[in-house]
Symmetry: C2
Subunit: 314 residues, 2 copies
């Protein structure tokens, strides 16, 4: 049961990462460093994918291929319609999009998810749903709140094994825009930002304090005045700003979930996961950190549920 | 009383604007287009100012000079200590900073204002205090709430003729950073943004809805999804984003001022003032728009109160 049986590709805007999986789900090999979709010409997806997985293909022959992430977006290989929330693993597996290719045979693209609550703006995800499936791993006891932090943090609610709600917070991208393209960055020393735990915590406190949404437009300005008034080392201002935005994000994500005091951090770099854990502790919340390989695991579970892997069934 | 008696210079980060005023405050002449302080070398302020006002000096001889704005900042000619809030016209006039120069004689720089509330970050302004003095114009009946919208909007509370509180919202700069340096701008057509009144109003509604500060990190993402879902013309997305941020700003500025339903818009371009007026109407607030020349008027009133103008007294 441990022979290679699936290639799972997490293909995002700026990166591509592949996993070779055994029929029982064992991770046999991994490859990173492939081109993100924005670096691939419209007619180049098949050849770039083939180049990326050629060593595996040479050694093991053709294998089923499952793709997740922005590869299924309008800017990707083929636009796969979003599945509407709520959605379970088996519903996602049922809606895998089969895309025929000459050189690779069919590839299977995981649909993204959309949510369209009345009176609110719609929201979307592509790729995160596969990571969540990997974290849940078939268990229906894993209900709760999950965050996939980063450029666009996704907060995902799981109930009875289904993704029932999610919301995107542009925290990482707004941090970068403020850091590099506003006056707030002017006082910050050039070079890589180092985390200052003390000022990060001060930022979390300031960002999570009560107030209306527009208060954030005012609070971020403190990143400048605290530096001007020598209340904080200039090298620590970026930690303050990061804490402020992450604190605001987490407390907003929990604003209508007062009874829950826990969330799971999924699929982020260890340093970023630690930032979210540290912020959570300040806000009196508990966290768990999901295993790093959940994207490949989720793709495997979806492929198995869809019957793509020989000799197994969901 | 109408002979030229004062040169008032509004000298900011990116622009310089001067006024020639009569002893009775009449505006005799104006000049724009001078270099902002960031374009002036550290030893070049006197010569650049002299070049800018030379025609007046040639015609009328030496006149008292009063400067306001970022010229008194660390990046300006000389760093003038902030006056602490609350502050009145006469307190500002009393703290004009006399800076001796070889070529121009003494110049007088209006101090900026700082506020440092316990448990909150400090805040600062330079230049806006002079505009507020010009709007009040010696009247003590003009108590109320004033906004100077723009890159860094300042919301200023005046009570009994004194500036008692203010707060900076980075609305304009954050709009520009989101528009030009995040994914939100990707769906927006290149070129000058035209205002779409309908989507601007929708943005105001979304931005002013109740919620915690971090909700703003989520709400701005709707600028993308509303475009992706064809709910809004792509050319109107920038109006939506502008309305969202301005709506959030105004409702936050009023969050702890529930009894007041009016504010005065000071010193902004007519189009921007109209945006703030339109947003206010949606939020059931009333507005007035102050005259455009309040910076020169404020400088005149401060100079007169400081006894810089011969033959007058405050």
């Amino acid at each position: 049961m441990n022979h290679p049986a699936l290639i799972a590709v997490d293909w995002g805007t700026s990166s591509m990462r592949s996993a070779l999986l055994g029929a029982d789900g064992t991770l046999r090999d991994e490859r990173g460093g492939g081109p993100g979709i924005l670096a691939v010409p419209a007619d180049g997806f098949a050849s770039d994918l083939l180049a990326h997985i050629r060593p595996w293909r040479s050694q093991h022959g053709p294998l089923p291929i499952i793709l997740s992430g922005m590869i299924g977006s309008r800017q990707g290989w083929v636009e796969v319609p979003y599945l509407t929330c709520p959605a379970s693993k088996s519903e996602l597996a049922h809606h895998l999009y089969r895309h025929a290719t000459d050189s690779l045979g069919p590839v299977h693209i995981v649909p993204g998810l959309s949510i369209d609550p009345p009176g609110q703006a719609p929201d979307v995800m592509r790729g995160e749903e596969t990571q969540i499936v990997g974290v849940l791993d078939g268990s229906s006891s894993e209900d709760g709140l999950y965050v996939l932090p980063g450029t666009h943090s996704k907060w995902v609610t799981v109930e009875n094994g289904r993704i029932t709600h999610f919301a995107t917070y542009m925290t990482g991208e707004i941090f970068a825009a403020l850091r590099h393209h506003t006056i707030l960055g002017r006082l910050m020393p050039e070079g890589t930002d180092q985390t200052d735990t003390t000022t990060f915590k001060q930022g979390v406190g300031a960002g999570s304090a009560e107030g209306p949404p527009g208060a954030l437009l005012q609070r971020v300005f403190a990143t400048r005045t605290l530096g001007l008034f020598d209340r904080m080392p200039l090298a620590s201002l970026s930690s303050y700003l990061s804490g402020l935005l992450i604190g605001a994000e987490i407390s907003a994500a929990f604003a209508d979930k007062r009874l829950k005091r826990h969330f799971t951090i999924v699929g982020s770099a260890p340093a970023l996961a630690e930032h979210y854990s540290a912020a959570a502790r300040i806000l009196d919340l508990e966290t768990s950190i999901a295993p790093a390989s959940c994207a490949a695991r989720g793709a495997y579970l979806l492929a198995r549920a869809a019957g793509l892997i020989k000799g197994t069934s969901s």
